[in-house]
Amino acid sequence: MNDTIKKPQISERRKFFTNIAHNAGLGVMGGLLWAGYADKAKGSTLTLRPPGALKEEDFLSACIKCGLCAEACVNRPSNISKLTGKPRPGTLKMAKAKDDVTIGTPFFVAADIPCYMCEDIPCVPVCPTGALDLASLTNKNNELDFRLMDMGIAVVDPNSCIAFWGIQCDACYRACPLMDEAIKLEYDRNERTGKHAFLKPIIVMDICTGCGLCEKACVTEKPAIFIQPREIALGKPGDHYVKGWDSKDEQRAVSQEAKDVTTKTERSEKGAADYLNEGVDFE
């Protein structure tokens, strides 16, 4: 009887390998689930990060999720309400599970509470990991400079911006902490009435820091000016388009030429610049 229902014996050797396979299998299963979640956890590319944040990818690996930036933001002296003596809600929030931002990392929503671009930038020096990079906000004189902030860029939707309709509104222009630098008003003739002007807000790309005060100030039901991360909002023409009328940019073409040309034929012996720009004087 015993012989017929005897359990199959396995050798120590077989047991050893089965155990390894078992553990490795569980490890791979867990690892795949975990890595899959980690990939999802990276969150939306539309996230606005605090001033001085590294490139999103580097920021995510460097941020230790301590919240010191958010605490410095809410407790900065300029945030203490004069009426109540208590701090108002801070700009920086620490992401929670439902926020579509990597959990525990700092971010802000400009339409709720924009960045007020404090002169002393309290949120950055407290970062222990360099995920908020102090050097990127330090100017040549070794001083903190809020003009170097680059959290995103304002984008205007001209279809819903009432200034583009011809209604006078310069809310964003006046809210901008870099007034008449980051947002300029472009005057244009209103052909419809023949006697009015358009005062169109135009974003100056290099100056705008993406603080979001314009988005907060915008009077339309859903803001017609809003902040996006630069990688999202901006295009890229590619290196091969050159502003030939700009002597600096033209220089780029000249230095590129040497690298670019790989074949030399009778026709390509002379670069295009040689004959196209013959006799043209650059300023």
Binding site: C66, A70, P128
Partner: protein, 266 residues
């Protein structure tokens, strides 16, 4: 009262830390700011979670002097003095799992439960897995699921949907596996076990006084470390002991107490 002395001290320690963290955000206190991932004491001394720093390294971050120093301070403190005390004296999730464990005893769960077995070494494999996933994803892998920092941040900045994870851990410990999270799975507990392996403060057993009532084994969250009870008079040296002192509390026979391990005599 004497049978809850260390329990009360531990709760005081855990809650005081949470209050300090909370006050740092809500009232701008400087005593202890940040979270348990990384803190600053009086705006001067950095403290960092060594495991979080390891994961950052695996994820490809360039480490700064501050976090390395912070992680070293923590590792040295627990390594030399506290042992695995982080888990029972600091970590807020300990309060959640202790509550589950307490309710477990009240409900006699061990009497009715289907036996679920898990290796207590899973935590060490979790460490390796966390580092591998960090490396692959470029994101500190345990930090995005850690119930410890979710609870810690929840207290400081307000809870979100992540609170569900804490409920899940409570239910897991209550209905699935005794000491399931802290005693089997949590990789941070594993890291602190390793860090604290040679620490000085240890529970010491005196088997001459022991009456074999086994109350200590009933309350101990890492019961395998108490294998000498009633047999040998020696220190509890297994690294998984969290120095929680529950065994010392419940012992009525003066057979257990905290002591300082003397390496010179051995």
């Amino acid at each position: 009262m004497s049978n809850v002395k260390y329990l009360i001290l531990r709760r005081v320690s855990q809650i005081t830390l949470l209050v300090l963290y909370f006050g740092a955000n809500a009232y701008g206190w400087k005593m202890l700011a940040g979270t348990m991932s990384s803190s600053s004491v009086l705006e001067k001394i950095p403290l960092s979670d060594p495991f979080a720093v390891l994961q950052m390294l695996a994820a490809g971050a360039v480490l700064t002097f501050d976090v390395i120093l912070g992680a070293m301070i923590i590792a040295l403190f627990y390594g030399i003095i506290g042992g695995r005390a982080f888990c029972s004296w600091v970590c807020p999730v300990n309060m959640v799992t202790d509550a589950a464990n307490w309710l477990r005893r009240k409900l006699y769960m061990d009497k009715i439960e289907r036996k679920v077995w898990m290796s207590r070494n899973i935590r060490y494999y979790m460490i390796i897995l966390a580092l591998v996933v960090s490396f692959v994803s470029g994101l500190a892998a345990f930090e995005i699921i850690s119930p410890i920092t979710i609870l810690n941040r929840g207290v400081i900045f307000g809870f979100g949907a992540g609170a569900g994870l804490l409920v899940a851990i409570f239910l897991f410990d209550l209905f699935v596996l005794k000491n399931g999270w802290c005693g089997h799975i949590c990789p941070l507990g594993g890291v602190h076990s390793i860090i604290g392996k040679y620490s000085l403060i240890r529970v010491k057993h005196n088997s001459d006084n022991c009456t074999l009532c086994m109350k200590c084994k009933e309350v101990c969250p890492e019961v395998q470390v108490l294998d000498m009870i009633g047999k040998r008079s020696e220190f509890v040296v297994k690294q998984e002991c969290t120095n929680c002192g529950r065994c010392v509390d419940v012992c009525n026979d003066d057979a257990l107490g905290f002591s300082i391990r003397n390496y010179l005599k051995q």
